[in-house]
């Protein structure tokens, strides 16, 4: 028992005993007071005072505190008053009010209900004065003072002055005087003198009477005092309402703008406007608070308070046509005139306060500085110290035209270098000169053979570059350093350059030339055969030589086949997305060229523009190409192209037919194969289907893919046995699918599953790959379809087992790559960490791998480079896993049976087998749990892909249902056995631990 107790683990802090201290009681009371017990039912709640004591209890409980606290609230308790009345001292008949019988708190409550004047609405300050007086009286009563009785009203007055007023008063300001009037002595004297002089000049001045009176008084002291005193008396008594006459119809003291001061501002401005103009001038809300935040919101109405302002609420129509101003035309000059008038008025009155005049002479002089003197030789263009092009003055007289050197290679080389130098600047020339000093080929750089020609070319290039730079496209997309094209690079390296390309690049992008070229190309490229010659490849990306190079590379690979170099996927500076996009572009271009309609058909850029509209991708670089095509030509092209009609099968819902009062054209027919969603899809999937065995180009996929390829190759070498291994490698793909597949799809695919196998023979290669891709669980059923020899009697799990065994053996072949494969094989088991500890420890080595691998699979899926066969395999897995999910309950029943079968297998392989089984179990779990969650989001994101899949799998839905049934059975079984076994293993390991 002691041992057991030692094993106890305590979590958290123990709950304190309640009867400890009074503080806890108090705490509890506070907690209760703050509503902790509110949640209790009313009859279980207890009323306690702030001390935490129960105040309400029965008549006989509660003890001392019952009487004292609950009733009278005095130590003496409740004592009845004696009634005495005598002749001298008559008992007053007191008028009892309810207040006599109320407790303090109840009185406070009652006060809350009673009506009173709010000091907020105290317009005249009378209530405030009253209150202050009362307060003073109260205080007076409380503390004894020298003066008996309440202080007279004259003495105690409420301090109702604002802080500003009191400050001003402190500074010597008197009421009723304008602030400027406060006079510093000497200045005042001076002014007085001046005023006197002025008075002598013009006696009709408005100020005459006042000054006259001043003059009469004579005494400056008096003069200064006189208004002050009188004003003081006057204004001290003047209530607020005289200063601010009530002009509205609101209730007294009611301020409608109390909570929205902006409106006050608005109202005032409107009022003043009315006063000023008489006619209503539109109140400009543009800059005020009332102008809508976004000016594009339609005026006059808003949307619901609960709605968010979206882009859709923007007033698109307001952009071009300000319909507020659109009437100006009709009204004509009158409006404008009045507007101008208004403006003038505004100008006049803006700077000046009411009652003031604009001074004609001001002391204040704004200091003005003259602009700095620009030196005469200043050129307002910044010149870079290491110029790109300026070394070759464009104004230079062109070098004489020189015939190219006889050697064709040399000519091309010179041209290439010239292009390059023009692009990269003089520095490059120097560099290459230095580098190639010994190289006779580059002697032209040092004034050797062909130097003249080089100079000429360079000049031409520079000329051209200048033209180019005027186009916004030039040099914007990529840094200049990377403008070095593969061609020029090749030239530097001394490779044999492509013949036409350089000349094409050098041809200026004049529209005529483009058209000509396109016509030429259309003549040349009517047959795809011509693609065999990369030299004659069309130049759809003429404006972007590196891109063109990549395109050529792409074409070469496409039509020649063979392995693709990894670098071909694009230059290093391109992002994955760019690369994928570019590939699509290339494909589109290739298709366009292939069709032989290059001259009169759509340019890839146009097509891509269409696409970009559909997908939201932006093909910025391609879009610029349109500039080269003249408008007329474009129109011609579109006219020839459009309208284009396509027809698809479409199945109306039966209810729809019913509602339209039509007969369902598909009544009784199986559901249609959904077709690909868009052009984008077809672009994505078509080439892959065609070139199923084509290795992947996408660099993102490249690592994992190449690995797989490698494995595949090895698998082929090893023969049948290793097949199992490879298929296991492929598993994460189906795992991924199983996770994200959605149910409805699976139901469909279930029936259409096996028809896939009857695909045309052109995909035989795909079929063989397929056989490798498919998990061991389904090998049997598949093998039947494919005509592979699989022992029919073997149970599914056993078969799988064998596969694992083989793998095990092959692992010992000391091939490191296989080892890695082996690791991957058991990857999923690492995720199922609920197994025994020992296993987990082993597998913990690879969780990183798991994530990585999954990610790479995802990448495969996303880039949609997966071959057709893969997809088919995926479809299978998906289906099976869903099946296994559906039949979980059945599995359990069956598990006992299969489990026994498994027992007979060799014990040495036990662990491996268990791991495998666990992995499978995990998968099925995955499909159980996460499919439902993530399918929705996934569907959205990958709609296009799933469509493609669907398309594949449900192509031939109508045949061979029995296969699927058989298949179902198998699939049902395998997870069950594995489940059982893993369970068993689990218990075993437990037992081991106990020991």
């Amino acid at each position: 028992m002691d041992v057991d107790e030692d094993d106890f683990v305590f979590y958290g802090t123990p709950i304190e005993r309640e009867d400890d201290t009074s503080t806890t009681r108090k705490k509890k009371a506070v907690a209760e007071a703050s509503g902790h017990l509110r949640t209790l039912v009313p009859w279980k709640q207890e009323v306690r005072d702030e001390e935490g004591r129960r105040r309400f209890h029965g008549a006989f409980s509660g003890g001392f505190s019952a009487g004292y606290y609950n009733t009278v609230g005095s130590k003496e308790g409740w004592t009845p008053q004696t009634f005495t009345s005598s002749r001298k001292n008559r008992a007053e008949i007191k008028k009892q009010s309810i207040l006599n019988f109320l407790d303090e708190d109840e009185k406070a409550d009652l006060d809350g209900d009673s009506l009173g004047t709010s000091s907020q609405f105290d317009t005249f300050g009378s209530t405030a004065a009253e209150l202050a007086r009362k307060q003073a009286e109260k205080e007076q009563q409380q503390r004894p003072s020298a003066i008996p009785g309440p202080a007279p009203d004259e003495i105690v007055l409420p301090a109702s002055d604002s802080i500003g007023v009191s400050l001003l008063l402190k500074m010597g300001w008197r009421r009723g005087r304008s602030i400027k009037d406060s006079r510093p002595g000497s200045l005042y004297d001076v002014r007085r003198e001046a005023r006197k002089a002025f008075m002598a000049l013009s006696s009709e001045d408005v100020q005459a009477p006042i000054s006259g009176s001043e003059l009469v008084k004579g005494d400056p002291e008096m003069v200064s005092e006189l208004p002050t005193s009188s004003d003081d008396q006057l204004f001290d008594k003047t209530p607020v309402y005289v200063l601010k006459p009530k002009q509205d119809m609101h209730g007294l003291g009611f301020d409608p703008f109390k909570d929205a001061p902006e409106f006050r501002e608005r109202k005032r401005s409107r009022m003043s406007e009315i006063k000023e103009a008489g006619q209503g001038k539109s109140f400009s809300t543009k800059n005020s608070l009332f102008g809508f935040k976004s000016e594009r919101i339609a005026p006059g109405f808003g949307i619901g308070a609960l709605e968010e302002l979206d882009a859709e609420d923007e007033d698109v129509y307001a952009s071009g046509y300000d319909f507020g101003n659109s009437y100006v035309q009709e009204i004509g000059d009158a409006t404008r005139l009045s507007l101008e008038d208004n403006k003038k008025k505004g100008k006049k009155e803006h700077g000046v306060l009411h009652g003031f005049k604009v001074a004609s002479v001001t002391d204040y002089q704004t200091e003005r500085f003259n602009p700095p003197v620009i030196p005469k030789d200043f050129v307002p263009i910044h010149v870079f110290s290491a110029p790109l092009e300026d070394t070759y003055k464009l104004a230079d007289s062109p070098p004489p035209e020189v015939s190219p050197p006889g050697d064709k290679d040399l000519k091309v080389l010179i041209e290439g270098v010239a292009t390059l130098v023009a692009r990269c600047g003089k520095l490059f020339e120097d560099l290459s000169r230095e580098k190639n000093q010994s190289n006779p080929l580059f002697s032209f750089l040092n004034g050797g053979d062909g130097h003249q020609y080089y100079l000429r070319k360079l000049w031409e290039e520079n000329q051209k570059r200048n033209d180019h730079s005027k186009q916004p496209f030039a040099g914007k997309l990529y840094p200049t350093e990377q403008k070095m094209t593969a061609e020029s690079r090749g030239k530097i390296l001394g490779e044999k350059p492509l013949e036409k390309s350089s000349s094409n690049i050098s041809s200026p992008a004049s529209s005529v030339a483009t058209v000509n070229l396109q016509v030429n190309l259309s003549d040349t490229f009517t047959k795809p055969v011509s693609f065999a010659e990369p030299q004659e490849v069309a130049k759809p990306f003429r404006d972007d030589p590196p891109k063109q190079t990549r395109f050529e590379q792409y074409l070469k690979e496409k039509y020649r086949g063979g392995l693709r170099s990894k670098e071909s996927g694009g230059s290093s500076y391109m992002s994955e997305a760019d690369r994928a996009r570019e590939r699509l572009e290339f494909e589109a271009a290739a298709v366009a060229i292939e069709k032989g309609k290059w001259g009169n058909e759509i340019t890839p850029s146009q097509q891509l523009v269409n696409l970009s509209g559909t997908t939201g991708l932006q093909f910025t670089s391609a879009g610029t190409e349109q500039a080269g095509v003249t408008k007329a030509e474009e129109e011609l092209i579109t006219k020839k192209l459009y309208p284009r009609r396509e027809e698809f099968q479409w199945r109306p819902a039966s209810l729809l037919c019913k509602r339209f009062d039509l007969i369902d054209p598909y009544v009784g027919k199986p559901p249609l194969a959904p077709r690909t969603r868009s052009k984008m899809d077809s672009l994505i999937f078509m080439p892959d289907l065609l070139n199923a065995d084509k290795p992947e180009e996408d660099a993102r996929v490249a690592p994992s893919q190449s690995e797989n390829e490698y494995n595949n190759k090895e698998a082929a070498l090893r023969g049948d046995e290793v097949e199992v291994e490879v298929e296991n490698v492929e598993r994460p793909v189906d795992l991924y699918k199983a996770i994200f597949s959605d149910d409805s799809d699976d139901e469909n695919e279930d029936s259409g599953l096996h028809k896939v196998e009857h695909q045309p023979k052109n995909a035989e290669a795909a079929n063989t790959t397929l056989s490798r891709l498919i998990a061991g669980d389904f090998l049997e059923s598949l093998g039947k379809e494919l005509g592979l020899e699989v022992p029919p009697e073997r149970s599914q799990s056993e078969h799988n087992f064998k596969g694992k065994e083989v793998t095990n053996i092959s692992t010992k072949d000391t091939n490191s790559s296989i080892l890695s494969v082996d690791r991957k094989l058991f990857m999923p088991s690492s995720a199922s960490a609920d197994g025994s500890k020992t296993e987990v420890r082993k597998d913990n080595l690879y969780p990183l791998e798991v994530s990585h691998d999954d990610a790479s699979r995802e990448a495969i899926g996303n880039s949609t480079q997966g071959s057709g066969s893969q997809k088919r395999g995926i479809g299978l897995f998906e289906n099976v896993f869903v099946k296994s999910r559906v039949d979980v309950s059945q599995e359990r029943k069956e598990s006992t049976f299969t489990g026994q079968q498994d027992q007979s297998s060799a014990s040495s392989d036990d662990e491996r087998g268990r791991r495998g089984s666990k992995s499978r179990r995990r998968k099925s779990r995955y499909s159980e749990g996460e499919t439902t969650d993530s399918s929705d989001g996934y569907e959205d994101r990958h709609r296009s892909r799933s469509r493609g899949r669907k398309n594949d799998s449900s192509r031939e839905k109508s045949s061979s249902r029995k296969h699927s049934k058989h298949h179902k059975h198998k699939s049902r079984r395998s997870p069950s056995s594995s489940r059982h076994r893993s369970k068993k293993h689990h218990s075993e390991s437990k037992r081991e631990k106990r020991k």
Partner: protein, 300 residues
């Protein structure tokens, strides 16, 4: 009634009442009334011939983009920025049902001939068919083969035709079970059926109206001269199919000859974008709606 009849170019009435732009104005099936909807989220029923505002239907929370009334004038359907299709009772002005399902704004809505179904076209690239007869909240069918916002739709007795910004006019033939996609190459803004039902007039965003033969998919004629580059603007054919009518972004109305595509008449009708034109089914009468907040009735 004949093709020689005068075009409705004189203003008969101005219907004012909408705050902000009017996005659509439609005659009812017999042409006695018209419905308008606008940015203020209201639908208004008018008698355009007398210039009377009859009723206002308020329930939309955002702008209303399209409205359609059943042939028997008993029900309305409308759609707009609040992503729902509203199904109204005309007489009471109550919303009978709201069909929710579009992921984004709904651009156009139409009843079918029997008023048993509402078809809506949304910015979410889909057409949705809603059942008015049952109480199901799910659409009967979703056509999501479009690759961009579906702007406009037309219904015949057997077909659903819709035009999309992806440049296609797709005809869903329920009787045959086919979908015919006619790619016009330019974003389609509005489509209208000719009165004989043989042609589709499509307003494209390249300031061109295109007349397409429905059976062959051939481009019959192009009508140019107006401006239509950025807004959803209606176009229509006159009831005799003799002329094509279209609005312009500068507030003008254009009449083209159907056959030779010459501009027969054009006049400035509104001070702002003409969003909608609707032609009377029998008379030489036309209503135009504009962002300037007015609906104008034109007669010859």
């Amino acid at each position: 009634m004949s093709s020689g009849a005068k075009l409705p170019t004189t203003e008969a009435n101005v219907l004012k009442g909408h705050e902000g732009g009017v996005l659509a104005a439609r005659f009812n099936s017999d042409g006695n009334y018209c419905l308008s909807c606008g940015k203020d989220g209201t639908i208004r029923l008018w008698n355009p011939h007398r210039g009377i505002h009859i009723k206002t239907y308020k329930s939309h929370g955002r702008q209303v983009r399209d409205v359609h009334v059943t042939p028997d004038n008993s029900k309305l359907t409308s759609c707009g920025g609040d992503r729902q299709v509203f199904y109204w009772d005309v007489a009471t002005g109550h919303v009978i049902r709201k069909f929710a399902g579009h992921h984004s704004e709904v651009n156009a809505v139409k009843f079918n001939h029997y008023a048993s179904v509402v078809v809506s076209a949304g910015y979410d690239r889909s057409l949705r068919v809603w059942d008015c007869r049952s109480h199901s909240t799910q659409p009967i069918q979703i056509m999501d083969t479009f690759s961009d916002s579906v702007m406009s739709l037309c219904l015949t007795k057997t077909e659903i035709i819709a035009g999309s910004v992806d440049g296609t006019v797709r005809t869903f033939d329920i009787r045959i079970g086919r979908e015919i996609s006619d790619d016009l190459g330019q974003p389609v803004n509005c489509i209208t059926l000719s009165n004989d039902g043989n042609c589709v007039l499509a307003s494209c965003l390249d300031s061109t109206l295109r007349l397409m033969d429905r059976s062959t998919g051939e481009l019959l004629q192009e009508y140019k001269g107006h401006t239509c580059k950025s807004f959803k603007m209606d176009c229509c054919l006159t009831n005799t199919d003799a002329h094509v009518v279209g609005g312009s972004e500068d507030g003008s109305i254009f009449f083209w000859d159907l056959v030779d595509a010459s501009v027969v008449s054009s006049f400035r009708a509104h001070s702002s974008v003409v969003t909608s034109v609707s032609y009377h089914p029998k008379d030489n009468c036309m209503i135009t709606a504009s962002v300037d907040g007015t609906i104008r009735v034109w007669k010859s």
